[in-house]
Amino acid sequence: MVDLWQGLAQAFWMVVTLDPELVEIAARSLRVTLSALVVASAIALPLAAFLAVRRFRARRLIIALLNALMGLPPVVVGLIVYVLLSRSGPLGVLGLLFTPTAMVIAQVIIIVPLIASIAHQSIRDLWQEYHDLLISMNVTQWQKVRTLLWDARRALLTAALAGFGRAIGEVGAIMIVGGNIDHATRVLTTAIALETGKGEFALALALGFVLIGLAIAVNLSIHWLSRTEQEGRW
């Protein structure tokens, strides 16, 4: 309990005084995860729309696969990315291991199935609603996908935010592929793991509170930017 209060107080002070190390780590967390989110969304959302409107042989298999991959342990993703990016691995020449880019890659792999699965469900529902109309309007496949993505955008935003939440709080994979290098690949979650390992619970908790605050702030600002709450009319 004492640690908890100390953690809260320390978090408060670090935020108020804009502790430079905290700012650096938090900014890196945001940068890595937002990059991963943009890349993952660019992959997952079109994939979800495609799965919703096209009927093809492997469709059910891919959906089942995506659902299963949602539960993939991040540590496993981290290990696979690690082996691939290691100097002695197939992509070693890129020299990406222990860089923020490697962390982005791992996070993308972790959240693509999550975003695609959630997005697929809402796009499929919308497609059922729109199906007859769009067919009768003779729209092209591309127009169909664009219409669905646009009109389902609020649900898709929720899917993306779920991905963000999973990515920013993830530690197992990015610890392995990032290496938790000070001033290079240390982010909030790996710093928390490090401080916990040193027995510095109050500092670890403080970082945890900052992480929670950051996640809430991002959610609120994205909702505010898209004015979801005010426009909750359909």
Binding site: D132, L133, I135, S136, N138, T140, T147, R233, W234
Partner: protein, 238 residues
């Protein structure tokens, strides 16, 4: 864009679901003017017939031949559903949509949308989300959205089935105006009053087959088949 759709020649057309025939075989010839009203008891297959003619239901046998290639014919048709499908957008954006997918410039599309909104009495609601409109307003919007791309033919599946008297009258007025300006309408209804008010010719459908195809006057005055006579009398047909 001048596309010659009619005459439409339907030969032995049949649509099935799970091996059971829903509609057909249908043999039919339709000419290029007026309002064709499809009537018949519930379950006769009115909706399926419209969808089949429109090309939205799979054809298992026979053929549906327009005077032009089918692909072109699809581009000059619209379909209005019994329960209007509203895009989750504003009224204006719903109206613009069919124009935009045809590549009409945004400013032009907006001007047309305003014009059509005025014609159907929705000009005060352009910025309202379409799904929040009342049933009658939604159907008027659906109608305007169908008409805005200047189709040569519109299918309407019981467009007034769930509307009150006033909304029904407004819809019928829009339909009369559209028909007068040359748009071909094919509409199903189970409202005999509506059929009499709108029809220039009638298709009487029973158990998936067209029992009578006749000009409205002769159909209502001297129906030829016992089923049609019974239906007009108000008998329960089995």
């Amino acid at each position: 864009m001048v596309t010659q759709l009619f005459p439409l020649i339907v030969t032995g057309a049949e649509t099935r679901r799970r091996g059971k025939t829903l509609v057909g075989p249908v043999d039919l010839q339709l000419e290029g003017q007026g309002i064709t009203v499809v009537i018949g008891p519930n379950g006769a297959g009115k909706t399926t017939l419209l969808r089949m003619l429109h090309g939205a239901a799979r054809l298992h046998a026979g053929s549906i031949r327009w005077a032009c290639p089918t692909e072109e014919a699809r581009h000059v048709q619209a379909f209005v559903f019994q329960r209007p499908v509203m895009l989750r957008r504003t009224v204006e954006e719903n109206l613009i949509y069919p124009l935009r997918i045809r590549g009409v410039a945004k400013a032009d599309a907006r001007a047309q949308a305003r014009d059509w909104a005025e014609r159907v009495g929705l000009d005060q609601m352009l910025d309202r989300p379409a799904p929040a409109l009342s049933g009658g307003e939604q159907q008027k919007l659906a109608l305007a959205r169908a008409l805005i791309a200047k189709p040569e033919l519109i299918f309407l599946d019981e467009p007034c089935a769930s509307l009150d008297g006033r909304a029904t009258r407004e819809i019928e007025e829009i339909l009369h105006t559209a028909a007068a300006s040359g748009t071909r309408l094919i509409l199903s209804t189970h409202d005999m009053g509506q059929a009499r008010r709108l029809a220039s010719d009638v298709l009487f459908l029973f158990k998936g087959r067209v029992h009578e195809a006749a000009p409205a006057e002769s159909f209502f005055d001297t129906p030829q088949t016992p089923q049609a006579r019974g239906f007009l009398r108000g008998d329960i047909l089995e």
